[in-house]
């Protein structure tokens, strides 16, 4: 049996297909097609949660996405524990296990409920006021305790084992919402042949046709018609139908984000299906058919379990076959709750009484209720509900005061009217307009190519809705390019219709009262809190919202915003439109991080770039470091070596014999064309016209402001061809910089730029034995110092494959950089390695590269410079062509501040104690005894232990640094002050003789 409250012959689920599930460890039986909410209600369970602040017992308010109360934790396994799942949305599957949240030790006895008694402490804005003394206690005591007590659910503590997918889609007409309006619009558009996507958040299409028993379309029951319409649409090639799919965000130019819940409703999803799929849809036209959401009545204790929206009770009965009680009271300010009473009465449920705030309403539903013998009380209010863990009574009073009467009930259905769901319209930057007659905000001014139809547009009645939606669907298709329409508009034969209602607090919860009449259930905001916020000075609705937290919970105020606004407006004595509506923001309902991140996590988070020689380094046990997206070999430890030992050994070996280094990641750009030299003249500070083919030059690139942007060795292969190298991290921006000038400032130059970074693998062979290692493998290049001096380049062959062989050095030793096509990179490396073994060469990584270049005072752009360093600051004036009349940065470099005295200049630093290695980034002062904050005159940019020098070495930017040679400066550190001497930047082989050694 699937629950004592299941009504035979009611609803659309098959009683035969049962599903077992558990809630807080207790086992229950439901039916396939149930939501967790309907299955629990079928078993008579209303109490499912505790409120956020007061820990009040809570039940189901709604039957859908707007649910503020019934948030549960769904536990599939150790890693899959999803918190804050709305039980009204979660579909039941066999074996589902759910737990309640925010209660201890149990749902029916919750210690935290003491907050309800202590509620004066927790009034609106309490976190700004109550717990402010002593001040220090907020951070250490109050805030952590309050957060702990107020937490909703528990985050999973393991990595998410599920996978998510993501798709882009394009269509002519995107229809959001699959109720009568959405279906009619989709049919009209689809019949013209344009590409249509139709999405609805529910498992089944139909929207409110799920509960509207009075609807008849094309001679059929409304819900049956909806299923036929969906079957027809699904069969069409030009239509994509997405169920369980929520449009959560409406972005610029009809770009809409949807999330499809693919497998959360399945017992065993397996790994083939993603858990969710993100759809990013670009539509020519969007039809918004998002419906309306019913509002509750604001009265004392309106949050007791068993008190719910009338439309929700109808859904539970008419779709799921579940009665929400046996003796049900109804409290309403509009007609729609009558239909709920009538449906329940016909299903055999006792309706204790209908209490209607209106004085003398008339209409067919009222007549029908009366004919069924239901007691109806006009002009009366429910001033409070009785009961605690479940509603037990409603106390009724004439709305202008008078004698009270208490009626026993086990559920109360309420309806204050329906709020059009303008969320997506508003997100599209459309402006809503207030209809004073119907007291609703409806779409006013449109900002994008979309149209609202049906209840979300304030259109009442099924007939008018279908007419409007069908016409809008056809128009959207026409606007997006459709030629012909050949469909037939669905014919509405019978319909339910209601509108109006009330906004704000009901009698008994007015300004003269202190009762807990909830406006926002999830955040425990009462009518009194909103009035208090106004009294305490909040004037803007945005301030009222933040002070009270009304509408700020995970349901984003779907049921509460209009009530809150009306109460604020009444207290302010202003009309509602003058107070204004808070901003609607994406997402419409919560979206998982998984869906947004999709596959972009782990190794796919960011591309990893590896050089051709990477596998060799990996096999050698290299330790890698990330440089931008590149993996670079950092050092090559041998058995027993730590990083320090490995780097010392590598550094010594390079200077003693030779070292091999994978320099493939260096950026490389080929600058080609008749005007290549002219272009180089403009982009670099150096002169290039007279550089002979076959020779290289160290180039500096500036930005227009005169600061160093990049550097690198440039080889001239031919009069019209330069092989430019850039820093590893700078390659893309240098290419962009060059393209920018070539395309927009110097388009008259006949030059082509090609990124060749990945075309060539680069093997640096450095050290006294480097030529001996390379020479035996090279063909067609004279390797003598006369034919191939330092800073030259030749094309030839190595190991039988083409090479661009550079003689250059970033170590200060005789050195070469062997460029070979990347496909041959590892093979040539292995050949050079074998040759190197004969001479005792070592492989070295980026750390040794850094130490060796620092020993020589060679800078690294981005480490020794920071975007505020000029060539002069870096001691590189020699690289600026003095006779040049133009290059990028020539004017910026001459700005008064850039030529002023006292600028920070790059210098060397030697610690007085040679064993002490400075920290990079450490600040430098003149007088360590001065009071804090001290005057900082510079900072350390590079610092290493140099085994070759037998001491520590450092580079630093120091104000007026070159005038301080030999001076003693100080580096204050937590463990004491370090004395340093200012020196030149070259620590090893000052005369540079080893370049030819």
């Amino acid at each position: 049996m699937s629950g004592a409250f299941r009504i035979p012959r009611a609803g659309r689920l098959s009683q035969a297909k049962t599903a077992r599930f558990s809630f807080d460890g207790q086992s229950y039986t439901g039916i396939e097609g149930d939501t967790l909410a309907s299955a629990l209600l079928a078993n008579g369970v209303h109490l499912v949660g505790r409120s956020f602040k007061y820990h009040r017992p809570r039940g189901f308010l709604s039957a859908g996405a707007e649910e503020p109360n019934a948030l549960v934790q769904i536990v599939r396994d150790d890693a899959r524990k999803t918190p804050n799942v709305r039980a009204t949305v979660q579909e039941l599957y066999d074996g589902l296990a759910a737990n309640s949240q925010n209660r201890w030790p149990s749902l029916s006895f919750d210690v935290g409920a003491v907050n309800d008694l202590a509620s004066p402490l927790f009034s609106a804005g309490f976190y700004y006021k109550t717990f402010m003394w002593p001040k220090a206690a907020w951070k250490s005591l109050y805030e952590p305790k309050i957060r702990e007590a107020a937490g909703l659910g528990v985050s999973p503590d393991k990595p998410d084992p599920d996978h998510y997918s993501s798709r882009y889609a394009h269509c002519d007409v995107l229809v959001l919402g699959g109720g009568a309006a959405g279906l009619a619009a989709a049919l009209a558009a689809a019949e013209t042949g344009v590409r249509v996507i139709l999405a609805d958040e529910q498992a089944e299409f139909g929207g409110s046709l799920r509960f509207e028993t009075g609807a008849k379309i094309d001679g059929q029951d409304g819900f049956v018609w909806a299923q036929a319409a969906i079957a027809k649409l699904t069969a069409m090639d030009n239509v994509r139908v997405l169920s369980r799919t929520t449009a959560f965000g409406y972005y610029a130019q009809n770009f809409v984000g949807l999330v499809e819940r693919v497998s959360d409703h399945l017992k065993a999803p397996g790994h083939e299906l993603p858990r969710e799929r993100l759809w990013q849809v670009r539509a020519k036209r969007v039809v918004l058919a998002s419906g309306a959401i019913e509002r509750h009545m604001v009265f004392a204790n309106n949050d007791r379990p068993g008190i719910m929206l009338a439309g929700a009770a109808r859904t539970f009965l008419n779709h799921y076959g579940v009665a929400v009680g046996r003796n049900v009271g109804v409290y309403t300010a509009n007609d729609s709750a009558y239909a709920a009473a009538i449906d329940l009465k016909k299903a055999g449920v006792n309706i204790a009484a209908i209490v209607d705030l209106r004085d003398n309403p008339t209409g067919p539903v009222i007549d029908e209720a009366r004919a069924l013998g239901i007691e109806i009380n006009f002009g009366r209010a429910v001033i409070r509900a009785g009961g605690k863990l479940r509603v037990s009574s409603m106390t009724v009073q004439p709305k202008n005061g008078g004698g009270e009467r208490t009626i026993s009930v086990d559920a109360i259905l309420m309806s204050a009217g329906w709020t059009p769901s303008v969320h997506l319209f508003s997100q599209s930057r459309g402006k809503v307009a207030f209809n004073d007659e119907t007291k609703r905000f409806v779409p006013g001014t449109y900002a994008q190519d979309c149209v609202s139809v049906g209840a979300c547009n304030g259109t009442d009645g099924l007939s008018a809705t279908v007419d409007e939606a069908y016409a809008a669907g056809a128009m959207a298709a026409k606007d997006s390019g459709a030629k012909t329409a050949k469909g037939t508009k669905p014919k509405v034969d019978a319909s339910e219709s209601w509108s109006r209602g009330m906004l704000g607090a009901a009698p008994g919860a007015g300004p003269d009262t202190t009762v807990k009449a909830f406006v926002d259930f999830q955040n425990d905001v009462t009518a009194k809190d909103i009035r208090q916020a106004v009294h305490e000075g909040m004037r803007s609705i945005e301030h009222v919202k933040r002070f009270t937290t009304n509408g700020m919970a995970t349901d984003q105020g779907k049921t509460s915003n209009m009530h809150g606004l009306a109460i604020a407006a009444e207290t302010l004595g202003k009309p509602i439109p003058e107070v204004g509506l808070t901003t609607f923001r994406a997402p419409y309902t919560p979206v998982t991080f998984g869906a947004i991140v999709s596959h972009a996590r782990g190794p796919l988070f960011d591309p990893t770039r590896k050089t051709a020689i990477h596998p060799w380094a990996e096999a050698q046990g290299a330790v890698f470091e990330d440089v931008g997206q590149w993996k670079r070999a950092w050092y090559f430890p041998r058995a027993g070596e730590d990083m320090h030992a490995a780097v010392d050994r590598e550094c010594v070996a390079v200077r003693k014999t030779a070292g091999l280094f994978d320099a493939s990641t260096l950026g490389k750009i080929e600058v080609v064309g008749p005007d290549a030299a002219k272009f180089m003249e403009l982009l670099y500070t150096n002169p290039w016209e007279k550089l002979e083919p076959g020779r290289c030059r160290y180039g500096i690139m500036l930005r227009e402001d005169g600061f160093i942007y990049d550097d690198g060795v440039v080889g001239r292969l031919a009069p019209d061809r330069f092989h430019v190298t850039t820093t590893t991290g700078g390659a893309p921006r240098v290419m962009n910089h060059m393209e920018d000038y070539l395309q927009t400032e110097f388009p008259h130059l006949n030059v082509w730029l090609t990124s060749i970074t990945e075309q060539w693998a680069v093997i640096a062979v450095q050290g006294p034995k480097s030529r001996d290692i390379i020479a035996p493998l090279v063909e067609g290049i004279d390797m003598s110092d006369e034919a191939l001096p330092h800073m030259s380049v030749r094309e030839g062959k190595i190991c039988g494959v083409p090479t661009r062989l550079f003689r250059m050095s970033f170590t200060g030793e005789r050195g070469f950089e062997v460029n070979v096509p990347a496909d041959y990179g590892q093979a040539v490396w292995e050949a050079l390695w074998a040759e190197g073994q004969k001479h005792g060469a070592t492989a070295y990584g980026t750390e040794t590269m850094h130490v060796l270049r620092a020993e020589k005072g060679y800078i690294i752009v981005g480490q020794d410079t920071d975007g505020t360093v000029t060539p002069n600051d870096a001691g590189l004036d020699w690289a600026v062509g003095k006779k040049k009349t133009d290059f990028v940065g020539i004017r910026g470099m001459a700005r008064p501040d850039l030529v002023a005295k006292g600028r920070k200049q790059l210098v060397g630093l030697k610690t007085k104690d040679p064993k002490v290695v400075l920290e990079e980034g450490a600040q430098i002062v003149e007088d360590p005894k001065q009071a804090i904050p001290m005057k900082m005159i510079g900072h350390v940019t590079s610092s290493y232990w140099s085994q070759n020098c037998g001491r520590s070495i450092a580079l630093a930017l120091v104000a007026g640094g070159r005038d301080r040679m030999g001076d003693t400066l100080y580096v204050p550190m937590p463990n004491g002050v370090i004395e340093v001497e200012v020196t030149g930047m070259v620590f090893f082989d000052e005369t540079g003789g080893r370049l030819n050694g």
């Binding site: 610029a252 130019q253 670009r282 930057r429 402001d705 400032e745 133009d886 004017r891 910026g892």
Partner: protein
């Protein structure tokens, strides 16, 4: 995500393919080295920040890689039009008053 029409590809493509490159129609002097401090300041540092129509440079980074100019409304974020680099500021803008 905005749609941007590349004037070279002659197609509307998603914003992801493009990169903004700052304000348009700021000419680099032919006599750069001779610019006064004031003129250099105007050229390099001073940018307009209008509420409304702005002229920008964009690059179709992940497409044809060309730089081009665009007219955009900073209030609505919408692109009014795009045109090729080197073309003059359009005298008339489609759909814009004044």
């Amino acid at each position: 995500m905005l749609l941007i029409r590349c004037p070279y590809c002659e197609e509307e493509r998603p914003e992801l393919e493009f990169r903004n490159a700052g304000e348009a129609h700021i000419a680099r002097s032919a006599n750069m080295a001779g610019e006064s401090d004031d003129d250099f300041e105007k050229f390099f540092f001073i940018r307009s920040n209008p509420k409304g129509i702005i002229y920008e440079r964009w690059r179709h980074m992940h497409g044809c890689a060309r730089f081009f100019n665009a007219v955009r409304d900073t209030v609505t974020d919408k692109f009014v039009m795009t045109y090729k680099a080197g073309e003059p500021k359009p005298a008339k803008l489609p759909g814009v008053a004044k």
